[in-house]
Assembly symmetry: C2
Homo-oligomer: 349 residues x 2
Amino acid sequence: MPQKVRIALDAMGGDIGASVVVPGAAISLSRHPDSEFLLFGDRALIDPQLERHPALKAASRVVHTDVAVSMHDKPSQALRRGRKTSSMWLAIDAVKKGEADVAVSAGNTGALMAMARFHLRMMPGIDSPAIAGVWPTVRGDSVVLDLGATIGGDATHLKTLAVMGSAMARVLFNLERPTVGLLNIGVEEIKGGEEIRAAAEMLRAANLPNLDFIGFVEGDGIGRGAADVIVTEGFSGNIALKTAEGTARQISEYLRNAMGRTWRSKLGFLFARQAFRALRDKMDPGKSNGGVLLGLRGIVVKSHGGTDAEGFAYAVDVGYEMVHYDLLTKINQMLNRDGSAPAAQEAAS
Amino acid sequence: MPQKVRIALDAMGGDIGASVVVPGAAISLSRHPDSEFLLFGDRALIDPQLERHPALKAASRVVHTDVAVSMHDKPSQALRRGRKTSSMWLAIDAVKKGEADVAVSAGNTGALMAMARFHLRMMPGIDSPAIAGVWPTVRGDSVVLDLGATIGGDATHLKTLAVMGSAMARVLFNLERPTVGLLNIGVEEIKGGEEIRAAAEMLRAANLPNLDFIGFVEGDGIGRGAADVIVTEGFSGNIALKTAEGTARQISEYLRNAMGRTWRSKLGFLFARQAFRALRDKMDPGKSNGGVLLGLRGIVVKSHGGTDAEGFAYAVDVGYEMVHYDLLTKINQMLNRDGSAPAAQEAAS
């Protein structure tokens, strides 16, 4: 583990760029004073922001580029135009070269994934990347993956997701043996593809020391916190995430309308303002802001594009934790330990 | 169209049975006086309930059976044990024999689907069934399908779902040309399976007079009401539905906790009680209670198993509307019209 956690920031990513990235990094630094930063982007935009945050300025080095990946670029366009020059590429490149331990970007997800995969390459034994997110639940936070990096995949892919997700939950939630559930649908006998059942068999047979497989979880189990880690392929994971966000937004709107309807409810709202603020914080997507790209030879964190400084700080925190508690080593160890027990797998299948 | 809408009820389905089914039917009858009912189940449980609802009693005939499909039976078990004898089977059988226009059951979804498919069989040109639900959105209600009847499926299957869903939206929402969106994930270039893109091509090319295809919709578009009909295969549809339910429950719990925390928020709650009641009604899964089994040679409605009389009444209402506005004919017409225009499809593909 390095003395300091070295964090590369794409200071031009996201809808707002440096005006969110720099204050966000400053917040995270105040929580983790053993961080240092490499900021990639337009110096004319970064420097004035840094002036306002002297502690961050002292812990940062700025590398100028005025090439930015647009939120609307397709991954292939981004690779063509932004390779070797864009702030996003340079942040990833710093990880590749060992100058940083983690890259954080609020930019275009598809571009970030394509660049990270192209430049960092996959970990040995892993075929395709995943995006893992921290999902607020009634019982605390859970890790949910894959949120959309890879569509479909066989039982081995699902098992790899389970291993990577539980490594992340160990790091983030400080758990010895996180519970892991496979997302499935509840109708008996048409219960999901064969690959999900086969993955369940494999996870049961492997009986990993750092992964407590609890079986299938339905969609409503995510918000209930039915497991510390919820595993599904990228299509249904993305649908689940977006549907939950849409439902939260829908209920906020209902609530706002219901509260503004009569003088009684308006008065009630005034009295309950604190409570509503607490609720809004719970429902705030910024709070669960920090998708981690998993499966790569390096750590890359995707922050929400439309976040504020506090949300970006949370994404930087997630990156910090991943480095500080050595996520990649944990994933490697779990994959290798598992690879050494093929007999147990065969016996149970 | 028959003079009266004849509704067959599985009076032993659901967690509660006749004590919910009978009062629910009574509520629906008060809204649609041109209904009549066949009630299948244990006469000893049904008759006392009917005594309390004389109008319903006058419009009903009870057919006794004491065989019930359990909520825990697997579909194959239900078919083995409950075929020809169970209340669920007999309700479906009444539709098969033309003695009823629609069957409504709050029983075990898998069993209902298996029995309906086995006994009613599929409509010509449709390979696999779907469950369609009414989803409350910010903009009003939408039809979402498939909620879990059939996992996966090719472009033709998705197109058939679009046709059936828009027929249902025409009937329920009284629309000439409902908007239809295909559920997809937003990351460019890994945008969902090939089958979704191919289905989009087919729907565009078909340019159906009663279906306004608007393209892809992401998960958060469902609650936003981005289209009158949202189409996806059964796995992701079920995940979306359950995840939304879980999120709504999670937010209710946050709200309850937030409201009970301080005397201020408790007081606020008292003033805003009406507003909260309105919100609860909006979020009530009972309100959107009525999954319709589509693709069969007959109409079968699945009510939520844990619903109350008002929720069951809503499911009966949905069944009534489907018959009254002739859902099956509309589906058939759309499928046939489409089949007669292969030239247009080829030209655009």
